[in-house]
Symmetry: D2
Subunit: 249 residues, 4 copies
């Protein structure tokens, strides 16, 4: 099972996250590419740290929106989004190669990630850009998303992620953040869910239903108080259960 976390989210004098700690826990790092976060020095440092700790580098491509951290959906034309994604891929890959690493996969960030679950035009632009950059580049995303469907149709290896601290609906979608049960706060419960995802390919939905979710990767958040400890507990729990942590890429 792969563990992935967002990383490289500092910008200039502003810092965010605990990459140094998280890179001892996760196997895949979604590295911000400068559009929603991540200046070049941060990108370089993040790629170097990931490489040294044998963590795979993913291009965490996002909307061009430092002010909103890429968390605000934007209308964009196919060409604009194609260009912005391709630009970010090349920029990060240049950084990665300079430290001996490479871009091993792509995972869209924030509002873009959410938008291309259903927005086919934007998903097509993202997939076309990934394809133009490297037709064999793996894509990590939400099961059932337009992104993964189109990426797979284009011949890209696709990998599905689940969220250890998010509530699930009986149909396998996430509980919206505005509703009760959206977040799982209890650490033991989070660890238990991680193990269940890994061992049985299922999760308990908010109504108690057992839902089939067979992820290739578990997404772990690293930038909230206590996040590193929780992430470490998840990893320890998985290893105790005999689950090997390794990247899909």
């Amino acid at each position: 099972m792969d563990l992935n976390a967002d990383s490289g989210e500092s910008f200039g004098s502003w810092t965010m996250g605990n990459d140094a700690s998280m890179f001892r826990i996760v196997s895949s790092a979604n590295v911000a590419c400068g559009f929603h976060a991540g200046d070049p020095v941060t990108m370089l440092d993040t790629c170097r740290a990931a490489f040294e700790l044998d963590v795979r580098v993913g291009a965490h491509v996002g909307y061009r929106d430092l002010h909103g951290f890429g968390r605000r959906a934007m209308d964009m034309s196919f060409d604009e989004l194609f260009g912005d994604v391709l630009y970010q891929l090349g920029a990060l890959d240049g950084m990665a190669h300079a430290v001996g690493a490479s871009v091993d996969y792509v995972k869209p960030h924030g509002a873009l990630y959410n938008r291309i679950v259903n927005d086919v035009e934007q998903a097509e632009a993202v997939v076309a850009a990934i394809h133009a950059y490297d037709p064999g580049l793996p894509v990590l995303g939400l099961p059932g998303s337009a992104l993964l469907r189109l990426a797979e149709e284009s011949g890209h290896p696709v990998f599905r992620e689940a969220f250890v601290d998010r509530g699930y609906m009986p149909d396998g979608t996430l509980v919206p953040r505005s509703q009760e049960g959206a977040l799982v706060h209890d650490a033991a419960a989070v660890v238990e869910r991680a193990v269940r995802f890994a061992e049985r390919g299922e999760v308990l939905a908010v109504d108690g239903t057992v839902v089939r979710v067979k992820p290739d990767s578990l997404c772990i958040h690293g930038d909230t108080p206590g996040a590193v400890e929780l992430a470490a507990a998840v990893r320890a729990g998985l290893e105790e259960a005999g689950v090997e942590i390794e990247s899909f890429a």
Copy 2:
């Protein structure tokens, strides 16, 4: 003899220059990489147009300053400048490869170009970034600049450019823009200088002295009124004199 011109200098809804016309005249295009000009769609279109007309693509790396078009000198640390240059190289190269082209050389832009004539620390950062990206990448710049000296010491092929419409001092440096004689306005004189650079490796300085300047490339401006006509005249003049126009890269 190579002819180079700045290109891809539009940004979003704002257009600048006449790339389509200039690409029928020059052999090398200095393509803006998004920091001082050039959004991703423009970069892509510019690389495609250059590729189709057999014009080489150069990375026109600049300061992160859209507002000032990269024309304002900035203090930057080695790490910051290294990162910013590397980021731009990767971004443009990704674009170039998506259309079948590649980054064939680097030429710094604007205030960065001028700064690293003498600023050794910034020149070192630029050269280190180019080297980290591709240790064999050619560099185009001003004869006698710290940039070219350091790039050569790092093993990069270096190429020297001259300016067909700029006045020269007896010591081979350019007449500062604030002084008389900084610009050569007469079209016939510009063409004559281009031919003299190419045939004899020399230029008449403002005081009438003959100065040895043996350029590998002539820089031509494309974004002023009448610029395309002047550029065409320069090319025609060179060809009439039997000078073959072809890129060094």
Copy 3:
């Protein structure tokens, strides 16, 4: 009747529009505030030119999106949009006062203008920001928009605009740009429509229906080829018909 046009849309080294010519024709200038276009020097020059030619200054507030020229709808929280609009109002007003002018009204720009025709939450944020800045500031917008309704409810003088070169549906809304009849290209027809708006408060819809539209202002575009000539023709046509051109503000 007021005539309004977008202005101050240059940015740094990039120029757009023909403000100097348009300011001899229109009575109200929608001045970009730096978020979608308009750097401070441009804002200052635009306010000065407007002031000298007795043209009213409107704050053309937009999304923070230079790359997209404010033409891409964005999700934003109430607080973010409130802040961004208030920021732009203060910035432009400081510029205006420095040259003896003032912000006389507000007209949202581009995608924000379109979004707050129907998006009540974003319209509330815009109106709240305008109100926080100056509870008596006039607002110019689309008849029937959430913007104008909420602004009026908050006690702001509101003014309605019509478009001389846009097709109308029988219900008074604009023909979507994707449909036939969206634009009126014929100059004589444009002038005739302007006069009909002013004299009779009506327009011929695409199906020939006569629709009641009684605007306080006619919006004229200034940045397309032939735009200045068309604008001059509209003004001449209105004056010939005895319509006085003067700002509502």
Copy 4:
């Protein structure tokens, strides 16, 4: 004696500083205006918090450089710098008025602050912008700087600041950060220096010389570990010595 501290230095999702704590200690808040830090929501929140705790609001105008936090000197024309400063003043003042406060003074930030100690052209642009905005606006700066001299000549009330944790040279200038003695780390020493500035108008230079420095305000840093505690100790020390803390503005 006034105590001033930088504030409002968060941007979007990135936070910096401890404004809530510092506003219980200082009497003047240098509020970032969006160019080097400080998005509109942060500016508004900062002005509101300052107003509620009776802290004066200063416009902390800086270079347009989020990436470098305004800490990198930039060449700019008079017009560009004039425009950028005026823009920031208006923007912050709009925010301040929306919460009942106002811009009470100006203190340039970072590299701009340092540059206009000696760069007369940039100092002239800054002073001209402040003057254009409000010819009576107080200016806070370094004793002996071109900024304060020009501001005073233009009729602005000027106020001089000293640094409680910086070493001084015998001539009253600061020990450069690259030299030993640049920073005073010992808390007791910092408090002692604050009291000596306030009571006797003097400071012990690095060589033990007593230097006359009679500040109107003491600058306190708030964004380093332990900064709030140190600031509180400075305030307590001053009050114990019978020095009243109040703004000059």
